[in-house]
Symmetry: D2
Subunit: 377 residues, 4 copies
């Protein structure tokens, strides 16, 4: 990971600003001969797309993705597949309203990246946050759709588990419910509470934070490159790199600090339903969140991250401007009252990208031999 | 970051196992003409060194560091300085007791990396955890000592703020106290409680987790490489990559999820004590933890991470062995009842390494011009 | 350098196939506040553009470049400048004639990349060479135009110095002549011979190789990152990576093997026209080609590379097809009889990219302090 | 490749100076479970070791290598194998004579890296060339010995084919002869001429250049990562990065510029001795040197490079010193009259490292499926 490129073997480079002509990405290192068409990517983008309910920004972007390179229709089958060369994806911006931003041209919005970008580069495309806009995350979602196709059997799902102080009740967790409400809540009852809360937040021009949980099933054991390319290290870096994220935890997370060694360590038994070459252990708990020593164990990988409330709010805040003058600012324009909602598909995508990258890295170093330790080598 | 190399321009490659002949590292990309001798590194190693109190492992390792390359005595001044070429550091292992580990040769210790290493590589040096041992972190501390010398005015300090369920009282925070107790607690009263708690834990052969806080002051604004090399992303990756860490947060962290937009965004005023080229804002709060949009703002950087309880405990735990047989295991040998304590200097070192790397990366892209936005460009 | 990304701090990622909808690139890591518009890039593309004389392929591509991101009009000056974020460039393909290639769909053209791509990926977009097409080099030229703006005072020029067995006469070298003939020959008399030779080659449906020389002036001393990121190593890698290149040399090159130590080593005197902080040596010869120990010395950098004759020829050649059947092949379609001609602007661009990348890397590690050793430090 | 680290998945980081306490390297990313002991590495070091004939430097270095990490004795077999973690290698320097260099402390030796290092870093360990010394190449040879074990069936051999103006006669090429003479000449008669020539060169305190050829057999087809990680690009970078190398060519090399398209393109037939899944083409010539489009074809890979005469000669040369004073210099001390000789094992090692790295990278992206295009997929 560096600059605007993510990953080592599965590499994603994104570009584009909120109010430029287009955003896009180049996905490099993808294995060849994987069926890939726009229709494989678009559903994930649609999930993240703004303007779908009154709870997200009203900017209208169809976010229609176009594949510019890296695929070829296999004549034998007629199916369009990846060629192993760079896959470029492009989404045109259609609903920029740059004039919305003229009021904030010079004054820094507290909590926004504008001040920091200016401190770094001495110039900042302030329109809609420019490069710092969450609009960039559309390309993460697009890349994630490709990443999901690389690891056989991989299933990555996410849910919003907390908004403000309201949390879902885990005893009511239902993955099927996640797509039934505009919050990606796995708990229908909590979704109703979220709706009520967010309506109030929206009405008073405020915003609220959230906590997201991503679960990856079907992660092969053995992924991760200790000691500075650990799977959990890369996941934490990827999650924290999502806009507005302030905290990341894996498995028991911060709660692990309060556990005793006996309670924390996940005991192991054999999975008696699997035999022979497929022989593997089962863990009696999952405080590790599927990762030990930076390497996947084959258990479900569980990652959570906290998203701060968006800083674009109607209440006037004290700030300074580019010329060092003290002033006040009110942010109008179109914004998400809870940016954490649309972070769910983004978090899923980043988890998929990290796993795909490590899957290829592991295959490079160790090969494709059966990884379960009890298998013959 | 990848495999056993950390960083892009300030690059640290570590090697060595807990029970091999030596551990070491190569620090590459260090600027030239920085005074550097063993005496600059040793004090930080001494802080992390095992066997210094009854609260850490009783393994006796002097951890004496030797510089093998990359320095030269400047004839004009007689001072040994860096040459800009790779600095190799070596620490010999002296107190290995590999026989302690014969009992666990085949059975996986729940919560340990052993199973995962075996699943990945099909072979594992189980003696003392091999490469997965926290012994590797000595080289992080050594590299961090060099990193600290690269960024002018940088000050990185850490403290243990929670052990088990006991937390320090922030109203009693005193940095000077940190070096007065064996827990790196900034609160003398909490230190006494920690001692009592840990004696009990130790006696019953158990272990306990902890939370560490690292604060970096003097970080220049403008560090960070959006969007996949964000300063907070790299910090999170570096912290989560430390042995036994399960959670990371920056600034308000997970608490940000519960804040409203008004409360979370840090308002700005001018710092009237600084004028002219040194003109800069001050922030009225620090929920951001010194980072906005992945870029440092010049505020103190605040990072916290949770360390799980060490899994090496005396209570018998259910597990399986390399041959797929179910068994029970008891971990004897020498271990830290609270591995979080020695994680304090390690966390400091990793934060220093991240900042040094980004300092050089920023200088590469943007140059050394004044970064404060109000300065003339 | 890896996959489709070139460079460490000045990073260029290209994408696109010869017969896809578009080719493009993302230039990441560019310093901010550099004036940049399409008009800065287009002239270099025009130089490389096909179809400009009867000596290059008759494919008609306007190669009009569009900047999609990474620039912003500075309001203070009205000038569009770089923002430090990724600069995406796009060129639409307009003159694909894919049906030209149906004859070679299954049979491998001897000397072409098709067989190798198929061996690697198991699939190959054979239309116009797909990703292996020299069409990709348009984006190198575009990126090179940006690279040239990064290093103050840098001047990179190239010339074709040999076609087949005909060489230019160095005593007639005239840089001004290079743009007066369709071969980039610095020797007008040689250009006339090249024309005659190439007309004959073209008529008999054959092709011919060439040697190109690139000279970079104004390269600051001190660039290069020993020992595995040497300036000459990176130059050699970049040149050899250009399509159809089979040899690279720097300074005296292969002729150095025949020199004695006395004749080869470039003696030094002081440059008496420069005094004080600008004090520097002059070299009495330049067998080193401006690089010693992998680091630039401040002398002009001289790089030469050999381009093989294009393999797309009318003479029937023996080959095999994808199904392992022996066959013969004749390549019709539109091709360059001497692909070395258009390699001149490509070679210039790659040299500029290498220098720009090392300029930023050097600034990162060492800073902007005066580099000449005689200056006070 | 960057700074002192070579490779992407097979990564080699070297450190150490000619007159420091030791040189060493860390080999990271090596696959696990490969048998490895010092005895696998030492023979290659012995081949490169100085002081073995009167034709190389008289410095006496046993170059005894020690493995510090990354291996473990497999209990099942008793064999020491790699564990997949970093392999650290160390060689202690024993025959430094730093006083030899006091005369050249301030004056730059024409043709040496000293001036360039000083221009870059503002400090230089001039003793024996410091980091720029060819002594560093011992670690390349050591790493190469490991690389050779990674690719099944790989055979990398090198030979000196030209010294000064004397060339070997290819009709007399005999690989068995290479180890029979102190020049690695494959032509016994040429070896005798080399001896005579070099005695004369040595007597007059001069030096002479050379050309080396490396041939790699058993390279699987499909290695190489277009377009900026091409196999030939990486080979050229690796060869040019060897001390004193000024030119690199692959296959027909510079001679390709003089060929017609018909003569250059290597025609293909089926290899009728191989059937079924092992079905593959044979090429009727090898102008490509085993690489097309940056990807290996399965033919023998042929790389040549030119080594300049060492600049350490007895004849007085004009130069300047660190203080900008003009002076003359004579280089005494112990030096190779033809540094090209010992470049043979170094070139072999670098070729092996490049191939091993690409072998793992290819396996990462594409997997281990049969690569020959005619095999079923």
């Amino acid at each position: 990971m560096s600059f605007n490129t993510f990953g080592h073997l599965f590499r994603v480079t994104t570009f584009g600003e909120s109010h430029g002509p287009a955003i896009g990405c180049v996905v490099d290192g993808c294995p060849p001969r994987i069926p890939l068409a726009e229709a494989d990517i678009q559903p994930y983008l649609d999930k993240r797309r703004p303007g779908q309910s009154r709870y997200t920004t009203q900017r209208q972007e169809p976010d229609t993705v176009k594949i510019l390179s890296g695929v070829f229709a296999d004549e034998a089958t007629g199916v369009q597949v990846t060629t192993g060369t760079p896959i470029a994806l492009l989404i045109e911006n259609v609903d920029q309203r740059s004039k919305d931003y003229s009021a904030i041209k010079d004054a820094y919005r507290p909590g926004h990246a504008g001040y920091a970008y200016d401190a770094k580069y001495g110039i900042h495309d302030y329109r809609g946050g420019g490069r710092a806009s969450a609009r960039e995350t559309a390309m993460r979602v697009a890349a994630g759709a490709i990443a999901r196709k690389i690891v056989p059997g991989l299933k990555v799902r996410g849910a919003l588990i907390q908004m403000g102080r309201h949390k879902v009740d885990r005893s009511r967790w239902d993955w099927a419910e996640v797509d039934n409400n505009p919050f990606f809540s796995p708990d229908a009852q909590a979704a109703a509470e979220f709706a009520e809360q967010l309506d109030a937040v929206r009405k008073r021009g405020s915003s609220v934070g959230a906590v997201i949980e991503i679960v990856a099933e079907g992660v092969p054991p053995g992924l991760g490159a200790p000691v500075y390319g650990k799977l959990d290290g890369d996941l934490a870096g990827a999650m924290m790199g999502i806009n507005a994220v302030k905290g990341v935890e894996i498995g028991a997370g911060f709660a692990a600090a309060e556990l005793s060694g006996e309670d924390n360590a996940d005991e192991m038994r054999m999975d008696h339903e699997r035999l022979g070459n497929d022989s593997r252990p089962r863990f009696l708990s999952n405080n590790a969140g599927g990762i030990l020593g930076g390497i996947s164990t084959g258990q479900p990988m569980v990652v959570r991250f906290a998203v701060k409330p968006t800083s674009s709010i109607l209440a006037p805040r004290r700030t300074v401007d580019r010329y060092g003058r003290e002033t006040e600012i009110v942010t109008t324009g179109r914004h998400d009252p809870c940016v954490g909602i649309r972070a769910v598909p983004v978090g899923e995508a980043m988890v998929a990208c990290v796993i795909a990258d490590h899957y290829l890295r592991h295959r490079g170093q160790v090969g494709e031999s059966a990884a379960w330790p009890f298998a013959k080598r």
